[in-house]
């Protein structure tokens, strides 16, 4: 049975029809055209589908869509401030913190959650917090540098 699902997506109220077994990732990508979150493993392992749910990082592939009723979802599409890139986006770009870019939207959302909670994390804290986001191109070092640069106020 389809249900009307209402939640806040990147600051705007949305209503969308969803079935009980559709994930938030399904609804974002297939029904709302929000393709920033990527489908990597559908197991919660890779981190490419990471979004923020009421400010906390969440795997949109492990979140049944109907459970986000009334909550706030932030995807990479909601990171830009007007026409300007978010500081993390600028830093990732300038530090070359990706090659193919498939993991980047999930990386950015996890990094935002980290800096929102802990604006000046240590290198070890960054490594631990970002451990759930895989980058098969191996850009981990640059990801850590980019996050450190934002934490240091360079962006």
């Amino acid at each position: 049975m389809k249900h009307i699902l209402s939640f806040t997506l990147n600051g705007a109220a949305v209503d969308v029809l969803a079935t009980p077994t559709e994930t938030l990732l399904d609804v974002l990508r297939e029904k709302l055209g929000v393709t920033g979150p990527k489908r990597g493993c559908d197991d919660g392992e890779c981190g490419a589908c990471t979004v923020l749910l009421d400010g906390d990082p969440a795997r949109s592939c492990l979140t049944l869509a109907l459970t986000v009723a009334g909550k706030e979802v932030l995807t990479v599409e909601g990171l830009m401030q007007g026409a300007a890139l978010h500081p993390l986006q600028k830093a990732f770009h300038e530090h070359g913190a990706f090659q193919c870019g498939f993991c980047t939207s999930g990386m950015l959302m996890s990094a935002k959650a980290l800096l929102d909670k802990n604006p000046h994390p240590s290198r070890e804290q960054i490594r631990a917090y970002m451990s759930g986001n895989m980058c098969r191109c191996g850009s981990y070092e640059e990801v850590i540098e980019a996050i450190q640069a934002v934490a240091a106020g360079e962006y």
Partner: protein
Amino acid sequence: MREVSYFAPAQVGEAVKLLAQYGAKATVLAGGTDLLPKINHYEVKPEVVLYIGGLGLNYVREEDGKLVIGAATTTAKLASDALVAKWASALAEAARLSGSSAIQTAATIGGNVANASPGADLVVPLLALDAQVRLVGAGGGRVLPLKDFFVGPHATVRKPDELITEIHIPKPAGKAVFLKLGRRKAQTLAVVNAAARLVMDGAVCKDVRIVLGSMAPTPLRCAKAEALIKGKALSKALIEQCAAAAVAECSPITDQRASEWYRKNAAAALVARAVAQAAGIES
């Protein structure tokens, strides 16, 4: 097309009524970190989804000399909560070592118990802490020792109309330690996990719990190993005998994470280390 029903009750009573109505047809959803991969890959095809995230079961409090943890409390909260750190630091450590940040904000203690994985990270320290599980069904509630809850891999004594609502931990005596060995440091399932809790009087072990995970069909209290050191002065040799006895009580399998041989050797090392640390002996 198969119709699936979805319910998100706001009260435990309502959830229990739905469970009584749908029984085994109902799939209980909390954080979803164990269930969703199975739904995504069509290993589980739920007829009725019962989401319990709205029941208000996300709490940690001290009550009648016990630590009471709501079933929907996340591992992120367990890893950072001051009461858990004070009463059950081994549980906090297990929560910290389980999954990544995005998994920890979703995964719940009730889900870890209900899923009944042989290597469930939270269950291993909970058994060492003599935890109890509270179940509520249409006929009322019951509290039973967690050690009597598991019957096999992903199998428990929970009846289809019962909901896990709380985990209780009595005020622990002595010091408890949790250790985990995985294939890598982060976001990994255990090859072996172990917990030990010891009450010491000088060099003498007055009371002890030893638990191994991923070494048997369920996380296992190693009673023979415990009996071997209870009431005795601890020495390095005795701790090693105790570790060997713990491994001898288990029946590990070879799977994609490790071989039986490796598990046995790793488990002996982890038990010896956990016992020594819980006893306050350097190892």
